[in-house]
Structures are given as structure tokens and as C-alpha cells.
Amino acid sequence: MRHLGAIAQRELRSFFLSPVAYVVLALWALLAATFFLASVIAFDSEVARLSRLGATEPLAQLNLNDHLIGSFLFSMWFVSIFAFPAITMGLFAAEKNNGTEELLMTSPLTIWEIVLGKFVAGGAFAAIMTAVAAFFPALLFVYGDPEVGKTLAGLLALFLVSLTYVAIGGFASSLTRNQLVAFLVTLALLFLVGLMIPQLVIFGVASDALGANSVLVDVMRWIGAADHFERMLTGLVETRDLAYFAVTTAIFLLLTKTAVESVRWR
């Protein structure tokens, strides 16, 4: 694994030598600021509304974590569904397009060094994005007193879902030499398979005669990222949710390794 560092480092450096990284980071920061402001305004107006009604009970229930940071991080998760395909589209597709795939495959490297090196680079970028997002909830610690544990659990959830997206996007990128194709395939996987289809099945079928306990609903609840993500936002760091992120990441890394290796099968 001694080449892993060299591959990760080059990949990360190349992110910042291309405009894509800057555009994604700028949009990410801008959207984070926007959604944070929106969450603050929503929270503020809710406080004002409940005060006006004199609803002391619900007012006491209102807190920065559940009613501000939670909705902010939920919005950022939604943004990440569109951001990560752009980050990962070039991971392997660019190597095919540059002809550098031939350099990697004829160097004394293992396929895992290549795949994990690129995953580490994508993971480092995900860490930067999580840190940018973390800046906004951090502001609240200056003006209020959110729970540290719950806030960190939420940020961890955002980071873990990002890692999963890096693995999925890397896989899509390993299938093609065309970065746009990689982008669209990743978007389809994250948005349709990871969010829309599970939500439609859960809400469609649950209201149906099958009932909420059907196996299909359970499967969809597991496949979709929403359930796992939301549970962590409430501060619960549970094994089943950590396992979801770990297993999904591992499956897609394994698929990527197989896809990269497959040039040798031709």
C-alpha cells in the first residue's frame, strides 16, 4: 500500500489544478450560507409565532439542534447529492481519457492501491466540504448553546454519507472514459436509487394495503440514505446506520476494483 499516498496526493492536487473543485466548493459554501440563513430565519419566525400564541410548552421544546442545525444539515445532504457527482466524475474516467490508465496498469502497483488512493483523495475533499459546512453550526455556539454531541453526530452523518457518495461516484467513473456520463450515472444512483425510489416506495406502499411492515418497505428504508441520515441527525449514532455507510462504501469500492481490473480481461 506504499503507493496509496502518492496516488491520493496527486489526485487531490489535480482537483485543485482544475476549476471543478473551486466551482463546487464555492457553490457549496454559497448554498451552505443560504440554507443556514434560511434555517435561522425559519427558527426565528417559529420562536416569534409561538411567543405570540403564548405557547410556552412548544416554545420550551424548540431547540437549536432539532429545529435549526438539523434542517440545515438535511439541506446540505441534499446539495451533496448534486455536488459529489461533479467531484468524482473524473476519478477514473480522466485516467482513461489521458491514457494514463496505461501508466498505472503497467506500474508496479496493485489495483487496490489505485482504487483506495483515489477514494482517500475523494474522502479528503469530502472532509473539506464537511468542514466548510461545519463553520455555520459553529457560529451558533458563539450566540447560543446547541448540544455538542448532537451537532457532531449530524456532521459525522454528513461526512459518512459523503464518503459513500465518493465510493459510488468513483465506481461510475471507472465504467467510462466520458466524465459527463460518469456524472449522470452517479446522479442517477444517488438521487433515484438512493433517495427518490425508496421514498416513493415507502410512502406509496405504506399507505397501500401492503402496510408499513412489508419487507419491501424495510428493504427500501435500508437502501435509501434518508432514514440513516435522519436518525444520526437526531444524535443517535447506531451500529445499523454506521453499518449502512460502511457496507455501501465497501460494496462500491469492491465493484470499482473489479471494473478497473477488467481492462485486463479484454
Binding site: N98, G99, T100, E101, E102, T106, S107, P108, V263, R266
Partner: protein
């Protein structure tokens, strides 16, 4: 890097075959290249040169047959075999956004040049390829001839026992061709204490072979048709052009000329 015991053959290919379904791209090719030999690997476009080279360099697995690079079996010791090769593919494998120096340093780390020696190895390789003046330039901004030099620099950075060059002058203008050819001749010339670089030079440009190589291996339709020292081949057949013309005009799949 990848030290070679004296007396070991640089390249030992035996019965290399590549099949794509029904199509046989490379058919039972065997040859040997001794240490310090500069061998021209000739054939018309589509003869199977690149496929053969890709099997030797470990990019494609052979359907049949085997090869050893500096004594290392490409199937059972793939990493050691790959470490023994410096390879310039037909399209130089460059990252356009990187600078020349950082790119060559990256390849040095991939090829297991020890960290402590990396800086020297990169400087030496850039120097030999005439790239010291452009070391800080971004590869994207270089001319095609200079990109080819960068391709050569990455191939020699780990001082491999075997250098494999696939059509290194394709797509260059006449001046660039002369420069790259001169550079390859320099790389192939004996240096520090008479040590010679083993080179397998794939090309379909005949003057390139007469200028640099001491032996010719010619393949046609996936089969080896000639394997002979350049001098004796020229003595028998007159010119490379004549050999090439006869080989490529024959529709027969049988070997043409004397195979040694």
C-alpha cells in the same frame, strides 16, 4: 532499480498469443532480446505490435504463452516484471494539468524509486531528455515534441533494465522527429562504464530502425516473419524498404524470409 543478474535476457517472449474471440491479434510470437540490445520491432499498422507490447508491459494478459522481463515472469512476478520496464505507450500517458517536474516525480514514486533518490533521479531524467528549462511548465502548454520528451523522461526515471517505446515519433513534425530520434539514440548509447540500455523500439518508420537498431524483428498479421541482425538482413535483402514491401505485399500467412 530492478537489478539484473549478468547473463539474464532482457526480454524473453515465448509463444505470446492474444485472441479476441475468433480474431487472433497476436499469434504465437517468440523472441529474445539480450541485455544492451537495441531491437527494432517492425510491422505495418495493425500487425499486432502494440498488442504484443501491451502483453510484455503487463497492460494486457496474454491468452497464451509467457514472457520474462529481466528474468521476471510476467504472470507469476508481475510487479517485479513491471518494475523492470520503462514504457512509453503510443499516446504518452500525461496529466495535462501537472508540471513536468511534478509529473516525473509522481511516476518515480509509482515505479518505486526510493524517496531519498527521487529528486536526483528526476533531475537526471529531465536532464537526459532536455527538459530542465521547462521543468516548471504545465504539460498542457507544451508542444507535441516536448510532450513526447516528457513521455520518455517518465519511461527512464527509474533506470529500468528494459525500455519499451511504442511508435515514439508518430504525429510529430520532421524537426521534432529528428530531435526525438536523436534523443532515443542518446538513451540507447553506452554510458557510465559501457553499460548499454536495452531498447525495444516499435515503429513502422524504416529509417528510424536503420538509424538506431542493431536487430530487427518484423511481424505481420500477428506473426513473427523476420528476426535477424540488421546488417545481415540488409546484406541479404538490400534495403529495409524491400523487406517491408515483400512482407506486406504477400497475402500468405507463412513466414517470409529466413527466420533465425
Amino acid at each position: 532499480m530492478g537489478g539484473t543478474a549478468a547473463g539474464t535476457l532482457a526480454i524473453e517472449a515465448s509463444g505470446l498469443t492474444k485472441r479476441y474471440g475468433e480474431i487472433v491479434a497476436v499469434d504465437d510470437i517468440s523472441f529474445e532480446v539480450g541485455q544492451g540490445e537495441v531491437v527494432g520491432f517492425l510491422g505495418p499498422n495493425g500487425a499486432g505490435k502494440t498488442t504484443t507490447i501491451r502483453m510484455l508491459t503487463g497492460f494486457l494478459p496474454a491468452s497464451d504463452g509467457n514472457a520474462r522481463i529481466a528474468g521476471h515472469d510476467i504472470f507469476t512476478e508481475p510487479l517485479a516484471a513491471r518494475r523492470g520496464i520503462g514504457y512509453l505507450p503510443e499516446t504518452p500517458p500525461l496529466y495535462p494539468e501537472m508540471t513536468v517536474e511534478s509529473y516525473v516525480a509522481y511516476v518515480a514514486s509509482l515505479k518505486d524509486v526510493a524517496r531519498a533518490e527521487r529528486k536526483d533521479a528526476v533531475a537526471r531524467s529531465l536532464g537526459r531528455c532536455g527538459l530542465l528549462d521547462v521543468r516548471q511548465r504545465v504539460i498542457r502548454d507544451l508542444s507535441k515534441g516536448f510532450r513526447q520528451r516528457v513521455g520518455l523522461a517518465q519511461a527512464i526515471v527509474h533506470e529500468p533494465p528494459v525500455l519499451v517505446l511504442d511508435e515514439p515519433t508518430v504525429g510529430l513534425d520532421p524537426i521534432q522527429i529528428r530531435e526525438i530520434r536523436g534523443l532515443i539514440a542518446d538513451l540507447a548509447a553506452p554510458r557510465d562504464g559501457g553499460r548499454r540500455q536495452t531498447v525495444l523500439l516499435s515503429t513502422h518508420i524504416l529509417p528510424e530502425v536503420s538509424a538506431i537498431c542493431s536487430r530487427v524483428i518484423m511481424i505481420h498479421r500477428g506473426r513473427k516473419v523476420i528476426d535477424q541482425p540488421l546488417e545481415s538482413l540488409l546484406a541479404e535483402q538490400g534495403s529495409l524498404e524491400a523487406v517491408f514491401g515483400r512482407v506486406t505485399s504477400s497475402d500468405s500467412l507463412e513466414p517470409v524470409g529466413e527466420v533465425q
